[in-house]
């Protein structure tokens, strides 16, 4: 893609301690050269592994999460023919239905947009030092520390 050849693909990762609006972030990815936009949102579900969930909390090692997240979006900009990529991950207290993470990718064609979007969320889940603490309806609570080789969802 022209954008990649010119080395000017905007690639940005951020942590946010508060709820954020996707609309203005999406608008910044609009590009007259781009014919495709793929996005992913992770929402807080009302259950996990069959247990009713009441709410959750994300803790981050902020300094390392910011650098590792930025590395991931920059890897995506190199690996895929895209025109822009942005990811924002929440920290702090979240309720059912709240937006936990957003990834937006613009590209010339849809294949690269989908592939880069999937790459970013997969890598963020695997590599960025953020931990989920779930509170269950039965009063129990706990940190999620998935097995290293988790089955693909």
């Amino acid at each position: 893609m022209g954008a990649r050849d010119q080395g000017i693909v905007p690639a940005r990762f951020e942590l946010s301690g508060v709820a954020f609006d996707i609309a203005p972030l999406r608008t910044r990815l609009l590009d007259d050269r781009a014919g495709a936009y793929a996005s992913f949102e992770g929402w807080v579900r009302d259950h996990n592994d069959g247990r009713p969930v009441r709410g959750l909390h994300y803790e981050a090692y902020a300094a390392l999460a910011a650098t590792e997240g930025q590395r991931i979006v920059e890897e995506a900009a190199v690996r895929f023919a895209i025109t822009g990529v942005h990811c924002v991950h929440r920290t702090g207290e979240l309720a059912i239905g709240d937006l936990a993470v957003w990834v937006g990718v613009s590209a010339g064609h849809r294949g690269a947009a989908f592939d880069a979007c999937r790459f970013v969320i997969d890598e963020v889940k695997a590599r960025v030092p953020i931990w989920k603490h779930e509170r269950y309806a039965d009063g129990d609570a706990g940190w999620l520390h998935p097995e290293p080789v988790a089955p693909a969802e």
Binding site: Y61, V128, W131
Partner: protein
């Protein structure tokens, strides 16, 4: 002897009962440092399940301790 600041997160933080502490250690590398810390705080995470970071960047377990650095033991992550 190096003085380092340790950071704990998530269940490691709960197990250690603190989110940070300063320690003086003669451990030759980060592997030995974690062994010392795990014994002192009764941490049950095997080192193989953790990653380690120094001054905000992922590091190798056989790296030596840098005096004045910040060391974090990283349990399996669950963002997204």
């Amino acid at each position: 002897m190096a003085t380092v600041r340790l950071l704990y997160f998530a269940s490691l933080r709960e197990a250690a009962g603190r989110d940070t502490e300063a320690v003086d250690s003669t451990a030759p590398d980060l592997t030995a440092l974690y062994a010392e810390v795990a014994a002192r705080h009764d941490l049950h995470w095997p080192r193989e399940r953790l990653r380690v970071a120094v001054d905000g960047a992922f590091a190798r377990w056989d790296d030596g301790l840098r005096d004045g650095s910040e060391v974090a033991f990283i349990p399996p992550v669950s963002g997204g």
